[in-house]
Symmetry: C2
Subunit: 388 residues, 2 copies
């Protein structure tokens, strides 16, 4: 599992003292080649953290030899000095590893608006470099946690591990600010497949578009979201393009589902499927509108199949539909038919964590799935106390 | 105060038995003329309740002789039978009052997706008609409450009440689904000024654009929002256009502020002022994005001046700004300057109910104010239990 499942990668995770509580907070992932190809997708928030600005530049070259990740501070809204801190981080890792700093990506997560304690972070990089191993992936996944209750890893191996096969593995963190354009979400994927940066980019963008970009836990878009895919080529296998894209999508989907399952304060995971849409864009717009409706999210928390709130959310969109043709199912019971009362809402069983909402726009054949969470008193508590 | 402050109006509020708990749930407001001019603004939700569809048609004629309002049921998503119920309500009121049903507006509020108990509502109209008085405005305001903890009324009198003057009064309800395009919000304004429907319409649209349309308690847009302005002409005074527009705006602003002050579960009223914007549209877009950021709303609840969440909300908009020129003040302390750390956040005193956020885009001279509420465990509780 994790970023060391694929051949050619080493990783480490340590407690550098960035977090005051002494838990792991610094991860290092190193690509030992022979290839150093990479692709990246970043937040679409216009207020970007310093490490995002840095790593976007690094990724333009299509080569990444190492990734330094820290929790305990986002290094966002920290001005020119914050950018210098990111630069120094990359330089330090390059020095410790004998790499080129221009090929070292950096990712940070934590509170916005605070400088990182560089007196802790820089020595930590030396220590992490000394602890790099081929099975360090789990420790790395643990070190990037913030309010995550568990670390998240995933893996797909195609063609068997005994020869001729290849692997895509990865790790993720993210528990709040989960929304499109990605979400206080740091993800590193690795593969030993032998592919150039351009093909990695195509596969990664296709995968994130229908996975991480369709996770909308709380409608809040982060300043730090980063998803990287690194290829070592160590398996010597050039995979089929479609097969590789599907493997990347599967790992992203697995990690995205884990993020929703561990979202801050959530008690329900809500799978919103919009069907019968005139276009995929319509389906996504309607899905997001439902996903972000606080009143509906409260109702789901209360195990109340309140389909009226689904309809009021659909009604705020510009999608093609007629109000008197809308159909809504909650856990497969069609509680709303033709925009009005349908099957008995008492038939809906909402005792389990996963809740499925199906919205049929009756306007076409396109569809999309958005994952969201309910809104709970625990979410309020966790996020009203986070920075103190 | 309320809808009977202006001359020429009578009103009543009774318990018709629509609400199972026996509290008042039916209001009647009657314009006794000599003029019967009216204007209306309705929800922009495409899923519109039956009374909205009905009243939009009535208002096209520019004449309203009476308004029937009920709490205890929204009559939304109730199909053709729900529309027949609204029609029957208008017919019944017309019969009881000797009016034309095509000049009777209807407004409903409560749970979506349930038919109204017409066996209770129709006899209630006869009883309400029998109780109409020139000081029934307060009873009418009480009868339209749903989860409102207090009833809301307001009044402006221009030129003295002893002669030559005129009055704008009104009532409002609304405590959840408060967002632009109006919000489970029912408002009836009355005036004894002598003005035709077209002038009422101009004044009402100008007023709602910067008052009710800039209230964003929870980002949720209702299916039932209705704001009506009725003129009796009973004062015999034709007011100055600008003075009248300002009076209507003042009453709307007063009522809008009362809605925020009584929003479901809220512990803080947040005044978000966006300044230095390149356009008013930019200012409103940024203000709404801040108003709807759940993480920020939680932070405000926790009295945490978390300006990083303000910046991350601004960053999701398409407004003109440079991230490193943004400034943010919370309760007049400029905690963020030039996109980075500003004055000491410990200077911010957030103990009081009203919290003022100022976001300076440093891109122009336009501005806008949006009112919002914090996100609390009480909001979650109230809205996870509402329909059960």
């Amino acid at each position: 599992m994790s970023v060391t499942a694929a051949q050619g990668f080493t990783a480490a995770g340590i407690a550098a003292g960035i977090k005051e509580n002494g838990t792991p907070d610094l991860a290092l992932v190193v690509n030992n080649g022979p290839r150093l190809a990479a692709a990246g997708v970043f937040t679409s928030n216009r207020v970007k953290a310093a490490p995002v600005v840095w790593s976007e530049q690094v990724l333009k070259g299509g080569t990444v030899s190492a990734v330094v990740l820290n929790s305990g501070g986002a290094n966002a809204c920290t001005g020119p000095l914050g950018f210098q801190d990111t630069h120094a981080t990359a330089e330090k890792a390059a020095e410790a590893l004998g790499h080129n700093a221009g090929e070292v990506a950096v990712a940070s997560t934590g509170l916005i608006g605070l400088r990182l304690p560089m007196d802790k972070l820089l020595p930590g990089i030396d220590r992490a470099a000394a602890e790099l191993t081929g099975h360090g992936g789990e420790k790395a996944a643990i070190a990037i946690k913030t309010t995550d209750s568990v670390h998240k890893t995933a893996q797909v191996t195609v063609g068997g591990t005994t020869g001729g096969g290849w692997t895509v593995g990865g790790m993720a963190k993210g528990a709040g600010m989960l929304a499109p354009g990605l979400a206080t979400m740091l993800v590193v994927l690795t593969t030993d497949a032998d592919l150039p940066a351009a093909e990695l980019d195509t596969a990664l963008r296709a995968a994130t578009r229908t996975t991480f970009d369709r996770v909308d836990s709380d409608g809040c878009m982060s300043t730090n979201d980063t998803v990287l895919l690194l290829a070592s080529g160590a398996s010597g296998v050039v995979p089929d393009t479609a097969e590789f894209a599907e493997a990347v999508r599967t790992v992203c989907d697995d990690l995205a589902r884990q993020l929703i399952g561990d979202a801050e304060g959530a008690s329900k995971d809500i799978r919103i499927e919009v069907v019968g849409a005139a276009s995929e864009d319509d389906a996504v717009e309607v899905g997001r509108s439902i996903a972000r409706n606080n009143l509906l999210k409260c109702a789901i928390h209360g195990e109340d199949p309140n389909w009226g709130r689904v309809l009021s959310a659909i009604g705020t969109t510009s999608a093609v539909f007629e109000p008197d043709q809308l159909n809504v199912a909650i856990n497969d019971i069609w509680v709303c038919k033709n925009g009005s009362v349908g099957e008995d809402r008492d038939l809906v069983d909402m005792r389990y964590r996963e809740v499925r909402i199906t919205a049929d726009l009756a306007a076409g054949t396109e569809s999309a799935v958005i994952w969201a969470n309910d809104l709970t008193a625990d979410y309020v508590h966790e996020n009203s106390a986070y920075s103190s």
